[in-house]
Symmetry: C2
Subunit: 81 residues, 2 copies
Amino acid sequence: MCKVNIYITLKEAVLDPQGKVISQSLKDLEYDGVRDVRTGKYLQVELADRENAEQKIEDMCNRLLANPVIEDYTYTIEEVV
Amino acid sequence: MCKVNIYITLKEAVLDPQGKVISQSLKDLEYDGVRDVRTGKYLQVELADRENAEQKIEDMCNRLLANPVIEDYTYTIEEVV
């Protein structure tokens, strides 16, 4: 079994209005040091099998989990014994 | 300046219907090895100042970014020169 952590973020060039709102809200709460906030998604996927996990995960991201046109993704895999 | 990555997840005991849907969709796409999917949020926050960053971030999470009743959060801080 293995656990995969997937981090999906908007590409640099894509506007992130949700991040802008969070950033402004933090400033309204007097956190003046906040320069920028970008939002993304975090998925924890449990796979039965470590074999070919990289390929499967990339495939899943491209087909369903992320939108490759506007989003980037990275992932880490930890094997669980 | 420092960059903070915040990972917000639902607590173990909290149902995650969105994760269940993703998990089922992946199975429908013939990814049979998928055992479970949990969804979360991923925030990238840029702070002007490294000083007291831990305390500020925890404060932000508790007040605005996460819902401490149903969500857990972790974070990593990287200093940028």
